[in-house]
């Protein structure tokens, strides 16, 4: 009858409801992600057959395989997946709290702001460790996202205005980034430029580790607030009428989205359109209820970046096309499709 299964604890006031569509979808996506990871780990200048990849991952490979797979390629694949996951969840949250299907970290200027923060650290503090990028990106993302939010919402809440203001803010952040890069002749500029394009090129464990605490806080927090998201996704008046503390919840969720988005930007630069597309694809799979949507969007996002990285590496090999170029090449037409779908 209903698509829900109730999970209840008899003694404690703990109860959840599970949409029966979600577990199989998550399982399937997880399977695809694993397969894609194995494929991605085996692909490169030094190909490794899938069987060997699996054996190496389980700890039974030869020494050189071990180095190629576990030291070089595994962190890169993990960064790709986690970056996609974080961007997609941030996008899903932003789309719900702005009630705007076009919102995403890049469209709201959040990514550009985070990029500005990170580039400033790269250029002005060349000796700073990689983990310093995340807080800097967070500050930039918060400032840019907050500005967009404030300017785009004052005196009404039209979705398109938010997007337009976001485009403007992103352009300003981009201009400031260019200025920062123009102030120095240091070698970090070239590095920063490639990094800004959005790529997981050469990511190692030291790039992965600084991401984890931020995701460790952001992802569970987002999942716990899923039911607030459901209510905020309705009318503003309805949400208030249902007893949601709208400003407080929206602010918290915005902060979570900025955290996730900025952590992703700090790890891999600005990967466009992932945060826009993944939630839409996930909505097709499991519907708009956020309890299932958030994890599904995360999985889809992770898959997208993994795939984009793989395509970027193999398409014009030996030239590596940054994953961000691939996602933008797919994502911009999708954005246009969303824009012109109904009217």
């Amino acid at each position: 009858m209903s698509r829900w299964t109730a999970i209840r604890c008899r003694r404690l006031p703990v109860s959840f409801r599970l949409d029966r569509r979600v577990p199989p979808v998550l399982l399937a996506l997880g399977g695809i992600a694993l397969a894609l990871t194995v494929l991605s780990l085996g692909t490169g200048q030094y190909p490794v057959p899938p069987g060997e990849v699996v054996r190496t991952l389980l700890g039974g490979g030869s020494r050189e395989y071990d180095f190629v797979i576990r030291t070089l390629r595994l962190p890169r694949a993990l960064v790709a997946f986690l970056v996609g996951l974080a961007l997609a969840m941030a996008g899903a949250i932003l789309q719900a709290i702005t009630r705007n299907p076009l919102a995403s970290p890049d469209v709201t200027g959040l990514s550009a702001g985070a990029g500005l923060g990170a580039v400033a650290v790269m250029v002005f503090l060349p000796d700073a460790p990689w983990s310093a990028l995340t807080p800097a990106a967070l500050a930039g993302g918060l400032a840019a996202g907050g500005l967009t939010y404030w300017l785009g919402w004052k005196g009404g809440s039209h979705p398109l205005r938010l997007v337009l203001v976001g485009i403007g803010i992103a352009a300003a952040a981009q201009a400031l980034t260019n200025t920062v890069m123009a102030t120095t002749q240091s070698l970090r500029v070239g590095e920063a430029l490639v990094w800004l394009t959005g790529s997981v090129y050469g990511r190692s464990w030291q790039h992965l580790r600084p991401m984890l605490p931020w995701l460790g806080v952001g992802v569970p927090a987002a999942l716990l607030m899923a039911r607030h998201l459901d209510v905020l996704h309705l009318d503003e008046d309805l949400a208030r009428g249902l007893g949601s503390r709208v400003e407080w919840h929206r602010g918290m969720l915005f902060l979570i989205a900025v955290t996730l988005g900025s952590a992703a930007v700090a790890a891999a630069g600005t990967l466009g359109f992932v945060g826009l597309m993944a939630p839409h694809i996930a909505r097709r799979l499991v519907g708009p209820a956020h309890g299932g949507l958030l994890p599904t969007a995360g999985m889809v996002g992770g898959l997208m970046v993994l795939a984009a990285d793989l395509i970027g590496r193999t398409l014009l090999a030996p030239i590596e096309v940054p994953a961000g170029v691939v996602t933008a090449a797919v994502g911009a037409p999708y954005f246009l499709y969303l824009l012109f779908r109904n009217r």
Partner: protein, 334 residues
């Protein structure tokens, strides 16, 4: 004051030309090393080969000339785009036309090695035309016509898409990256004076075409149907306007890279000064665009001394608040 310019527009244009000369002088005099205006004049009239004279003649004069030409082109191109689309948020930058030209030029540099200036210019025209056509087609896809907002968003998405492809080209070839990094951010510094000489014919054709469109655009601003009712062949007007936009924006990009937000702001300022008559708005936009880009370039030289910012950064930082204010107003109106 502006009531005066509205009733006597010729006077305002004259004043604008005076300001242009002033801006020109400021640009020749300022930079890392300020040069007194007397020395600047001497360098132009009685060149003696001293370092100061050399700086004025071989560095600041060419870049100021390029800034003037590019600014004029972008101002007029912006006015044309806004008139043709009847969209206050339209401009070569926001509609992705600049991005199309940029991609074509970057791809040309990557694939052809060192192509001639004319090849690059034609590549830029091709890119600009393709992007303009694509945005226009996209905007017409949706049912119920094109709202200004949708057109702008389509342009932004198009620009994002093309920029990503440009970045792909750059990363694919590291040589190209170093050569055109500054150009990509929009800059008039360090450009060969030959560039201007080569592009000037295209610019002049574009400007002449644009200035001839003043009267038809006035009719078109009342709406396509009204214009047709007045006996205008709107298809031809639009085609000529689009050709002018492509020539102007394409050569501006070929000369100085994608410079954003100038083409957006200038038409609004011109209309504010002189009123809605396109026969005057177009020349005003040219003069105003030239003045603003020269001054923005002066700013670019001064803001992060001893370094120098690309002028595109300055126009973006000044233009974004303008764009946001417009966006907020436009959405409110809907």
């Amino acid at each position: 004051m502006y009531a005066l310019f509205r009733s006597r527009p010729g006077l305002g244009l004259l004043a604008g030309l005076g300001l242009l000369v002033l801006a020109f002088g400021i640009s020749l005099a300022s930079g890392l090393q300020a040069i007194p205006i007397g020395t600047v004049l001497e360098a132009l009239t009685a060149f003696d080969g001293s370092p100061a004279h050399l700086v004025v003649r071989s560095i600041r004069l060419p870049r100021t000339l390029i800034a003037m030409a590019v600014g004029g082109c972008l101002g007029v191109a912006g006015t044309l785009t806004q008139a043709l689309t009847r969209n206050p948020l339209a401009a070569p930058g926001t509609l992705g036309i600049n991005a199309g030209a940029t991609l074509a030029v970057a791809a040309g540099l990557y694939l052809l090695g060192t192509p001639s200036l004319h090849t690059l210019a034609w590549l830029a025209f091709l890119g600009a035309a393709a992007a303009a056509g694509a945005v226009y087609a996209l905007a017409n896809l949706g049912r119920g016509g094109v709202t200004p907002l949708r057109l702008t968003l389509a342009g932004a998405a198009m620009a994002g898409f093309l920029t990503a492809l440009t970045q792909g080209v750059l990363v694919a070839s590291e040589r190209t990256l170093d050569e055109i990094r500054l150009w990509l951010a929009g800059s008039v510094a360090g450009r060969d004076p030959e560039v201007l000489r080569g592009l000037l014919p295209y610019m002049l054709v574009g400007l002449a075409l644009a200035l001839g469109l003043g009267r038809p655009l006035n009719a078109l601003s009342l709406g396509e149907e009204v214009a047709r009712g007045l006996g205008q062949r709107t298809g031809w007007v639009k085609a000529a306007g689009a050709a002018a936009v492509v020539l102007l924006a394409g050569s501006a990009v070929a000369a100085a890279g994608p410079i954003g937000f100038l083409g957006l702001a200038v038409p609004h300022l011109s209309r504010w000064i002189v009123g809605p008559d396109y026969r005057w708005v177009l020349p005003y936009s040219g003069v105003l665009g030239a003045i603003l880009l020269i001054l923005a370039d002066v700013g670019a030289r001064l803001i992060i001394r001893p370094g120098e910012a690309p002028v595109g950064v300055v126009t973006a930082l000044l233009g974004v608040p303008f764009f946001i204010a417009l966006a907020r107003r436009e959405v409110g109106r809907r």
